[in-house]
Symmetry: C2
Subunit: 317 residues, 2 copies
């Protein structure tokens, strides 16, 4: 298992900077007042494909040598990684093959196809996905880019915190949502060297709290089919992300479904940013644990903005 | 009638810069592709009180001498001007009196009160509003800050385009919505000197097209009780804004209600910015008149982001 280094992150940033956006950091006096601390929001939902995952994906895609690039990349995902990898491959002009369950939302499939990704559908089961993916990879020779358990991906995600520290001028802590742990691992990787006094805090839905329970137990525990509105956070930790989470994360807080929806609406209303339920989990945990954040300078990573505008969680129907 | 000058705008910017946000300019490759031109969105919806009107309001408030400041400011408005003037007055710590129809939405009243504005309710008629406002002004001595027909307000709104030109590095045209004409007038004021080759284009709802008809006729025509989802654009031009509109605007385009809603949803989805229906009118007109914009560098001012998240126009109910 290769553990990505701070230098890998620096190289990643040089590699991807022409292909991603240096997203703005935004503030809201009103949210500061509500939270009792100074909040700085790094808006990764403003990346062109709408999620921080374009960083890791672009690092993997643009790091391929010419021979591998000709065969392209491949992954299995029904979320932002699939569209971000397709987007990065489109920018380089190489093939991207994605295995998705046939039950994935049509909007997600449309986005992958808009970026030129080729979708092979599988049944919504682990065995079908693995068999289908093995077939696709054998046929295409595409380089497998895992959504998070890949050193290139983690080094790419770490570039977000490098920009964040340049933009925000000193933070006591950075809070990011945790699913598989790619963004949190990249954040740990960067801050451990660049700002070791800045704490890394992970935020997780109560109804998918495998990282929280793993963190407390000291070993990886996977949830059995978790269900949460924060659908970007359903996947479990893997060995590489566990490495960073177990060593560098200061705390993991959790929030209920209603707390997540309330925080999401607050951000939409006062930061006027369209973002996913997953991205609201940090603010939900901050509002739930005011003593841990009071008076601090708190960075929050808004991880993604791809949400179905016809099915907002606070609208009945 | 005092016509504000370019120098007034420069002084306004020095005066208000500590109190407003230098809002980001954002782009979307996808929207560029759809529109067939290069779009640059100046996100005034990201001002703390959610609208460009904080610029003019802050210029009026912070320009008062001490004696007048002690008596505060006063206005009649049920929209963003009321909350932005209250916000600016709060920052300076002076009174703000607002006359609002008792039928105004509760959310608008709540926002004004949150910023310390004092509301006096009137009946929803012009005569009641004028009589009530005269009484409030006589009692308080507050300086009347008109929502748009005021040289201090127009000079303040002009600061938006100054920042825009610094940020966007050359624009062929700037498109902004037109209601009373405050933002368009400020844009004309600034660009006529700073970038005379950049055209100013106004965008208006078909169902409240008084500025369009005035522009074609050559004199001010007011609508009789217009109705449009773009509720920030219901008010008519006045002498001061007509001065700028009649002299400096290149074209006024209009869009239907459905075109406005469609453009609003596109911006929410691809720019991931929460903005009002009024702010979508420019994109709606750009998509409707592709030949006028093809291949150009087009600046769009996203004027405001205060929208009722429980009543989105594309959600039935």
């Amino acid at each position: 298992m290769y553990i990505p280094t701070y230098n890998d992150m620096l190289e990643a940033h040089d590699r991807i900077a022409p292909h991603i956006r240096r997203t703005p950091v935004r503030t809201s006096d009103y949210l500061n007042e509500v939270a009792g601390c100074q909040l700085f929001f790094k808006c990764e939902n403003f990346q062109e494909p709408g999620a921080f995952k374009v960083r890791g994906a672009a690092n993997a895609v643009f790091g391929l040598n010419q021979r591998q690039a000709a065969k392209g990349v491949a992954t299995h995902s029904s979320g932002n990684h699939a569209s971000c990898l397709s987007y990065a491959a489109m920018l380089r002009g190489i093939p991207c093959n994605v295995v998705m369950p046939r039950t994935a939302p049509q909007a997600k499939k449309d986005t992958v196809r808009r970026y030129g990704g080729k979708i092979t559908e599988c049944e919504p089961s682990t065995s079908s996905r693995e068999a289908t993916f093995a077939g696709v990879q054998a046929a295409t020779g595409g380089d497998f880019v895992h959504p998070y358990n890949d050193p290139r991906v983690i080094a790419g995600q770490g570039t977000c915190s490098k920009e964040f520290m340049e933009q925000a001028d000193g933070l006591d802590m950075v809070v990011a949502p945790i699913g598989g742990g790619g963004m949190i691992s990249g954040t740990c990787l960067t801050l451990a060297t660049l700002a070791p006094e800045t704490k890394v805090i992970a935020a997780e839905p109560e109804q998918a709290d495998d990282a929280y329970r793993s963190f407390k137990a000291g070993y990886i525990i996977a949830d059995d089919a978790p269900q949460t509105i924060a659908d970007g956070l359903l996947v479990p930790l893997k060995d590489l992300t566990w490495h960073f989470v177990s060593r560098h994360v200061s705390e993991i807080y959790t929030a209920s479904e209603q707390e997540i929806v309330d925080a999401m609406k607050l951000i939409w209303k006062h930061l006027r940013a369209v973002m996913e339920p997953s991205s609201a989990v940090p603010l939900a945990t901050i509002l739930k644990n005011p003593d841990a954040f009071r008076g601090k300078r708190v960075g929050v990573i808004i991880t993604g903005g791809n949400v179905d505008l016809d099915k907002l969680p606070w609208v009945l129907g």
